[in-house]
Amino acid sequence: MGLDVESRRVVEVEEGGTVEELVVNVGPSHPSTHGVCRVIAHLDSEIVTKAEPVIGHLHRGIEKMAENRTYLQVVPLTDRLDYVGSMYANWAYCRAVERLASIRVPDRAEYLRVIVCEMQRIASHMMAIGSAGADSGAVTQFVYAFDQRERIIEHFEELCGARLTYNYVRPGGVSHDLPEGWIESLLAFCESHRKGLDMMDKLFFGNVIARGRMKGVGVLSAEEAVAWGASGPVARGSGVEWDLRKHDPYSVYPRLDFEVPIGSNGDCYDRGRVRLLECYESCSIIEQAIAQLEPGAIMADGVPRLLAPLPGDAYDHIESARGSLGVYLVSDGSPRPYRMKVRSPAFCNLALLPMLAEGHLLSDLVVILGSLDPVFGEVDR
């Protein structure tokens, strides 16, 4: 409690007379806000009449910082955007740089990027599914999901030495080739991961209480999802078929065969389950990419240390675990970006919260917030 919010507010109701609203300040330090988000919730008994997210607690001005660093120095900054899925921001940024500087990336590097990004998708979705469990009180589900995530993080650690901020994808390629035995252990993981997903599907998504908590809660219609610019599992949970891997194919995705899971009701359950089903697809993408992987260079030839692209602007986007993650770069011919803008899917998805939470209980508020899966490094930038 506290900050500058009054805890009670008298409002007039349509039927005449007044009622006293309870104003609860959820966050910025709260177990279920997935970071430092503050939601000012106006409650009528336990029903949320108005929920207003207050963001910006993690605003570090990364877009401004990028203007004072060389193109290569910006890559570690992008790690800090979506710290649950650093590979995506790396890749989206590098694609924009490559488009701006007309760099052609070798095939092997593209495959490696696809492999690590699909692994990142699993890791990120495990975080989302696990915290969906924690938000609704199923702590065990959280631990099981984190067990799966941990194994991916271990693979990343072996690959590039970092567990969270990888700085792996670089303009022109990737920073390291695969260590010995890595592929075999990754394939073994994919095998065991499917079993883990089956179990989570039964344990959590099949549980009657969990279904009761998530079904019909925070319903987002397909039209609203499109109009509000929702993307990723949030849009797909509402039945919007929109996945950049299919609909604006980039890298080597056209050569890979995979499905895009679609929900139908647009409630928290569908958003969560779409994430779970995407993990199966990611496993299959990883296996296909490994089968097609051939030896070769992992870095384009002749990429200078000090990139200075011609003046102009370029935008490129990829499908991150949260949706369409785009990077818009403006160059003025100097070795530093003149302007960098990150189109953050979590930011756009979080804008839905006031609409989705209205009329639900306070308990649903945290479930809805969790189902939007915001990462505040990316929301606040």
Binding site: G56, A227, R339
Partner: protein
């Protein structure tokens, strides 16, 4: 849809928008005067660009260049919509009526660039505290806490 097909389609449906269309780095760009921004965006929405992907701005010394990224699900294509507003008293019509997605994104541009969106229902700072002074993504923004860029780069 290929970018040239998109151009032909656009020219066919809206001939007056045709001369404003150009192709940069493989992306279609429609540069319009800011007075026509809302109408152009509305036209593009009717053409099939149903998603407002991104709203941002670039500080181009004398003026701010507003950049909108629109995405079409039916045509599988993206397009930039650009317009320039003067640095003094920058105002432009809000696109909230077309896409509610603009609600937060325009607030962000207002917060970091100080561009006022007319018709926006809730134009407040979003990233920075309410009492912050200045708009940090402007190139002339100064703050005593800012760190000087090192000389070696």
């Amino acid at each position: 849809m290929k970018i040239t097909d998109l151009r032909d389609h656009l020219c066919q449906v809206y001939p007056d928008l045709c001369p404003l269309f150009s192709i940069e780095f493989g992306d279609g760009v429609l540069a319009v005067p800011c007075g026509n921004l809302f109408d152009a965006a509305s036209d593009l929405r009717d053409l099939g660009f149903d998603r407002l992907g991104m709203v941002t701005a670039v500080d181009q010394a004398e003026e701010f260049e507003l950049v909108y990224r629109l995405q079409s699900r039916s045509m599988l294509a993206g397009i930039f919509l650009k317009c320039s507003v003067p640095r003094e008293n920058p105002r432009v019509k809000s696109l909230v009526d077309l896409w509610p997605a603009a609600l937060w994104q325009e607030r962000e541009v207002f917060d970091l660039f100080g561009i006022v969106f007319d018709g926006h229902p809730d134009l407040r700072r979003i990233m920075l505290p309410e009492d912050w002074e200045g708009h940090p993504l402007r190139k002339d923004y100064r703050d005593e806490r800012m760190i000087r860029r090192p000389d070696y780069i």
